[in-house]
């Protein structure tokens, strides 16, 4: 599979290079859907220029990148385009390898279950064939590299590409089973933006599963491994934070980066949910609503992990999706990351109920974003409500997509244990509903 992957990478690099040289690059790097105050390249250049002038880059509200990325960009600032393309390449290759390993595991488990005759006999059509499993990693890489969201994000030189690369490497290391590397990459991802800390749960569950430690709160082996993993994670996080202190010699990156992410002071419109509410909020209630909105990201981890404790990779997908939808400054680059996973669940297609409507909604909203922005800001005939409506609808579409896949996954699992043709007690046909 190396040749098709290489071809794919070349095609993707060509598309990005062409777009970089065209006049669209300027236009795209200004779009609020593609760049946010957290990952705009313009701000990175500004921050590094401030650093060259001897001023802390965190003074003033311009620069919100972490010190380790300052170190990285310090070397590559003249080669931003190449670095963005390399980051996309790394993400794609990491996802490719991760999904390959995952599919191997899935296939192996399926084979053992079939040999042990654990599935009802009418479920044979639900089995995943090696043929379709063979092409899934390539499809994942293709979904990521050729997705318009990723291309836009790369052409805008948004640092979202690098964040995505770190998360993809984390996924790769977790699926390969290396606890130390997984903890380190998770710590890096958490250090970049706080939200990946919720990926601790699926990674832990996956590693426990891999080591055949049952996820049982009363067992000592569970706690032992959990503590080990947590210690590695927290330790590497502490080391990274300490190292960042030594880069600039001060702690003022913490309010600038984490304070910024958590307290959402910048209300520039983006494709997220925060800006409109907080533009209208009375100061009195602001803290309350910030807590409410931020908890939304972390809230689904525990219930989902309880429900999906046997399927940690799907949990990881759902958690990444929830982070992309509910984070404080989402951009299309975050969406591209979880959408890259969709080919992995392509066997669920027959159980998806709303896929047509959801895809129409997502396509239409993506097309309407620039239109309504233009109408609001330039033509003056619309106002922020229009743009926020599209944002809201887009996020609703995303949530519907994720919940649809959740339903489909659970339904397939149910069928695998209870048979494909469900019958009620009196023998008539039954169907499954997600309550």
């Amino acid at each position: 599979m190396a040749a098709p992957l290489t071809l794919l990478v070349i095609v993707a690099v060509t598309i990005r290079a062409v777009l970089f040289r065209s006049s669209l690059a300027e236009l795209i790097s200004e779009r609020v859907e593609v760049v946010s105050p957290l990952n705009s390249w313009k701000r990175v250049v500004e921050g590094l220029a401030l650093l060259d002038l001897g001023v802390s880059p965190y003074s003033g509200d311009v620069f919100h990148e972490t010190p380790l990325t300052i170190y990285l960009y310090h070397f590559v600032i003249d080669y931003a385009e190449i670095v963005c393309m390399i980051a996309d390449g790394i993400t794609a290759v990491a996802l490719y390898l991760a999904v390959q390993v995952y599919n191997k595991n899935v296939f192996r488990k399926q084979k053992y279950a079939l040999e042990a005759d654990r599935y009802p006999h009418d479920c044979l059509e639900l089995m995943q064939t090696p043929k379709e499993l063979f092409y899934v990693p390539l499809k994942v890489a293709m979904f990521y590299l050729l997705s318009p969201f990723t291309i836009l994000s790369c052409v805008a030189k948004s640092t979202c590409g690098i964040n995505n690369a770190i998360v993809a490497l984390f996924v790769l290391c977790t699926i390969k089973g290396s606890a130390l590397l997984s903890a380190i990459f998770l710590a890096l991802a958490t250090y970049q933006s706080i939200y990946p800390i919720t990926l601790f749960a699926p990674a832990l569950i996956y590693l426990l599963q891999r080591l055949y430690i049952p996820v049982n709160l009363r067992r000592q082996s569970f706690w032992l491994f959990t503590l080990q993993y947590a210690f590695m994670f927290v330790g590497s996080l502490v080391v990274i934070v300490g190292l960042s202190f030594f880069l600039l010699g001060s702690w003022d990156y913490i309010p600038s980066v984490y304070g910024f992410i958590l307290s959402v002071p910048d209300l520039t419109p983006n494709i997220g949910l925060f800006w409109y509410f907080f533009a209208e909020m009375f100061e009195h209630f602001r803290l309350f609503f910030i807590c409410v909105f931020q908890i939304n990201v972390f809230f689904y981890t525990i219930p989902l992990s309880i429900k999906l404790k046997d399927h940690p990779v799907f949990l990881m997908f759902m958690q990444i999706a929830i982070i992309s939808i509910f984070k404080s400054y989402p951009t299309v680059g975050d969406i591209a990351l979880y959408m890259a996973f969709l080919p992995v669940w392509s066997h669920l297609y027959r159980f998806l109920r709303n896929i047509f409507m959801v895809s129409c909604v997502l396509l239409a909203c993506s097309a309407l974003f620039p239109v309504l922005w233009h109408l609001w800001i330039y033509a003056g005939s619309a106002n922020s409500n229009f743009y926020y409506a599209i944002t809201l609808l887009f996020n609703v579409g995303q949530v519907l997509l994720v919940s649809d896949y959740f339903y489909a996954y659970l339904r397939r699992e149910h069928h695998l244990s209870h048979g494909l043709y469900l019958k009620k007690k009196d023998g008539s046909e039954a169907t499954l509903v997600l309550k």
């Binding site: 060259d52 290396s178 130390l180």
Partner: protein, 385 residues
Amino acid sequence: MPNIIAVVCASYGLAQSVCDGEDLPARAERFFRSDHTNNWAVLVCTSRFWFNYRHVANTLSVYRSVKRLGIPDSHIVLMLADDMACNHRNPKPATVFSHKNMELNVYGDDVEVDYRGYEVTVENFLRVLTGRLPPSTPRSKRLLSDDHSNILIYLTGHGGNGFLKFQDSEEISNVELADAFEQMWQKRRYNELLFIIDTCQGASMYERFYSPNLMALASSQVGEDSLSHQPDLAIGVHLMDRYTFYLLEFLEDIHPASQANMNDLFKVCPKSQCVSTPGHRTDLFQRDPGSVLITDFFGSVRKVEITMETINLTVPGIPLERFGGEPHTETALAYVDQLPVAQIIHQKPKQKDWHPPDGFILGLWTLILLVFFRTYGIKHLKHIF
């Protein structure tokens, strides 16, 4: 030139103790009744629009009189808020008449307007009075008076109790005006000042004066309106205000050698002619108004007295001292280096790029290597070293 003669006579009169006669100091004293050496006039019309034609005509008639009596254009600051002569509603373009039937064209062809149109603002007026103008202001727009200047200030327009309206959009209050005059006094910008105002309730504008050597006249008291004189049916507007009309008539009889004094000026336009009661204020003025000539303010009279007697001009001066009788070789004078040229053409220092601290780089790469060897085994180490 006349100033030099005046100065010389002054030095003669004051410094020379050897007198040629007692009448000469007395004559000198009489000669210097008013110790002003130059005259200035600030003539302001504050109204715009065609129907305020009469205010421009008022100002131009005072301008004409003042110029005729000798004050040159360089010493007159004329501020007209609108252009009546070239107004497209003027049936007789390039003219401004003060008498009906076009008897007197006060516009003429040698009118020099210093502040015109929208430049006539309260701020500019106060800046002219106090002298606080930006350095780029030309001399024609400045009141370059000194402590021996007699200044005539004439204001006309629409006013009320305590204010005067400028351009139909802003006002100057009597307090501001009084403070401006106080600034002028503190900066020694006038010797004596005559303030004439022809607006409704004009007397309210001089109520607040508190600086010395100010004399003020107004066309009406508080609560009274100043009325306009006569319309011209061909032009279609009122041409003059009553007070200034009669003031112009009065001034037409004044010539540079005239001995008419301020008491005559106070009698201009009694109630029978003006309908309003003109007022005046002299309590701040040092001299008796009866001894103040009209030409002290309205004219620029050269003080020349011809004498047939010879005057010894050797003034005892300071002898030039020389050390040892020979001149110094003075060191060649040179300007202090004002402009540090060497520093200016010095190139900008090259911007130092920021480098991460060494400890950080060391720590980071050590960690990375540690993690690498931990995951992939220590056996790779031997391939490195």
